[in-house]
């Protein structure tokens, strides 16, 4: 009966209920659309980070590689890289494993000299791991008898290099010697991350291995079918390494992607602020509605009490009204949120400028999840219940005698 009473009371003052619902619905739509935008942006950032040569899982000799390995490809060469690769490849969720070494080098062209970080992976590395290395001029590395190199657009620009030019790489080799090599610039790439384009160059891993006299790669990069399988696969790999007694350890992508972690933290913090604003607006709207409703129904409250309703029952009645409003507003907002997201996705109207550190913007897409929907409904309902408690409490405390006299 209380549910029936509460529902019918909502329909009693349709205009006021509609206005309150509108504030809840618009708040929930905002949350859904914003959550959808964040999910899409972070998903895009996550996948581009993973496929920027990071992979889902990296297997290295030890943890120190991540702090000083880039300048010491010899000290961190993986023993038994072939066996480890075979073992990891045997896992069904692993798409492929590629060796990688990174080293610093001087690069010279005509009278110009600069510094470059050279990333070396096999030329036959699947393109989806090298999505970040979009060749914008020339071609990508290939099986060739002559040494080839792809340069980041910033490096090429500073050196004044064009396709077909020969550049000289000079670096320390194993044992402390120095080696130099002329390579042909076959391509110029753009990653979307300005800092990378300004410092990175890319050569074949076999070439690097001969150039530096490497015993093995510094890193094995594992790419999975699903990013979501990262943690489970990590556990399997580490257990396998431990079982075999091999000196190596695996780290997941999210522990290596500082930019992603910072961006995600920033976006989610912003989400909390937006949620707080929406909650605040909704709380005032609901408190106002329920308070007005109590004020208009003083005599009725008195009559319900006279018929035998307890104070608790009166409180329950008004809290139920608030809860229904929140639930209804939440559900309508969720439907609206999915609808608005779909329309925005179809229209592709919103262009997002390059985020800090990136050189390319993107068309915003909005992908709210079922989890977002559930969270919004629970939030709208919970906030409505909380906002109803005070006016409901006041209603329950109305003196029956005064309520009956109330005009």
């Amino acid at each position: 009966m209380h549910l029936k009473l509460a529902f019918r009371n909502l329909l009693r003052n349709k205009r006021r209920t509609t206005l309150t619902l509108a504030s809840i619905v618009s708040g929930v739509i905002s949350l859904m659309v914003y959550a959808g935008f964040i999910h899409y942006s972070l998903w895009g950032l996550r996948e581009s980070t993973i496929h920027s040569g990071l992979g889902h899982i990296q297997i290295v000799k030890n943890e120190h590689y991540f702090t000083s390995g880039a300048f010491d490809p010899f000290g961190f060469s993986l023993d038994r890289a072939t066996e480890i690769t075979q073992q990891i490849r045997a896992l069904p969720q692993v798409r492929y494993v590629v060796p990688q070494s990174t080293f610093g080098s001087t690069i010279g062209f005509k009278d110009k000299t600069g510094l470059v970080m050279v990333q070396a992976v096999p030329v036959n590395t699947p393109k989806d791991l090298l999505r970040f290395r979009r060749v914008i001029q020339g071609k990508d590395l290939s099986q060739s008898n002559t040494p080839e190199m792809v340069l980041g657009v910033g490096v090429a620009k500073r050196l004044g290099v064009t396709i077909g030019d020969q550049v000289t790489l000079l670096t320390a080799t194993k044992g402390g010697g120095v080696n130099a090599m002329d390579v042909a610039v076959v391509g110029i790439s753009k990653s979307g991350i300005r800092e990378m384009d300004n410092i990175y160059g890319y050569i074949d891993w076999e070439l690097a291995s001969h150039f530096l006299f490497l015993d093995g790669p510094s890193v094995l990069i594992g790419v999975l079918d699903q990013t979501e399988a990262t943690n489970a696969t990590l556990r399997q790999i580490n257990a396998g390494l431990k079982q075999k007694g091999w000196v190596a350890t695996a780290r997941p992508w999210h522990q290596l992607a500082d930019y992603y972690t910072q961006a995600a933290g920033f976006f989610y913090a912003l989400m909390v602020v937006i949620k707080a604003i929406v909650v605040l607006v909704s709380v005032f709207a609901i408190i106002n509605t329920v308070t007005m409703s109590v004020f208009e129904r003083v005599r009725e409250i008195g009559m319900l009490r006279i018929m035998g309703s307890t104070q608790g029952a009166i409180m329950t009645l008004f809290i139920l009204e608030g809860m229904m409003m929140g639930l209804l507003g939440g559900v309508m907002g969720v439907v609206g949120g999915f609808g608005v997201s779909a329309i925005l996705n179809l229209g592709e109207w919103i262009y997002i400028s390059p985020p800090p550190g990136m050189s390319e913007g993107y068309v915003a897409q909005f992908k709210p999840t079922v989890w977002d929907a559930m969270e919004c409904v629970v939030l709208a309902t919970g906030v409505s219940v909380l906002a109803s408690i005070y006016p409901a409490f006041k209603a329950s405390k109305i003196s029956v005698a005064e309520a009956i006299r109330f005009k």
Binding site: R8, R12, E300, R305, I306, M307, G308, S309, G312, V400
Partner: protein
């Protein structure tokens, strides 16, 4: 044993210079099965006294006993149950719940009492039949005339088989003919179920249905 015992009851509203003494040293006993009519001018204290008997107000001094209970000593839950099971109310302005149909308005006290649906339906329809409102069971109060609403209000007051019915100006909003019908109905219920009625009014017609007449003036019983 009297169903209502009011002993030396006083009621003071407000305090200091704005204090109003609504009742002073009122004592009265009402026997089961009586139809008691309390008469007096506006502000004489009859509604306040009725509120004391109806357990919806508490005295500033003195004691009130209803059906062997002292309502002022009951907790909210116990008092609510007591009202639900012992007392029925009829008001001048009917006070039906506008979002409930006539049937649901009458059914509400039984719901609170925890009666099963089948019993509720039977009892409610029987009462609506008795007050001539069965045909309008599914109608909302705003679709009913004043007389019809008062009939529904009487059915609601009687549905939990209360020992005592408190009626404050039950005919004041009704025309003479409808008022007479309502009073006949009360008289008939009184005769059938020995339900005690206490009515506050300044309508002389009501007084003609009373088995006992009490007059009030300035918060005191004068006759």
């Amino acid at each position: 044993m009297p169903i209502v015992q009011v002993q030396q009851v006083g009621k003071l509203y407000g305090s200091g210079t704005v204090a109003v003494q609504a009742l002073s040293e009122v004592s009265i006993e009402i026997e089961t099965g009586d139809i008691v009519c309390i008469m007096g001018a506006s502000g004489s204290g009859k509604s306040t006294l009725l509120n004391m008997m109806g357990t919806i107000d508490t005295p500033s001094e003195g004691t009130v006993w209803i059906a062997g209970q002292q309502p002022a000593m009951l907790s909210d839950g116990a008092l609510s149950r007591f009202r639900n099971q012992t007392i029925g109310f009829v008001f001048q302005s009917f006070n039906l719940i506008p979002v409930l149909t006539a049937f649901e308005n009458v059914e509400y006290p039984l719901l609170l009492a925890g009666e099963p649906k089948a019993t509720r339906t039977e009892v409610v329809m029987d009462l609506l039949q008795q007050v001539g409102m069965a045909e309008w069971a599914r109608s909302y109060p705003n679709c009913l005339s004043g007389g019809q609403q008062q009939r529904v209000a009487i059915a609601r007051a009687l549905v939990a088989r209360p020992q005592l019915v408190i009626a404050d100006e039950p005919t004041a909003s009704l025309d003479h003919q409808t008022g007479t019908h309502i009073l006949e109905l009360m008289k008939q219920i009184n005769a059938t179920h020995r339900t005690t009625f206490v009515l506050a009014t300044h309508d002389p017609l009501v007084a003609t249905y009373a088995t006992r007449l009490i007059r009030m003036d300035s918060g005191r019983i004068v006759a």
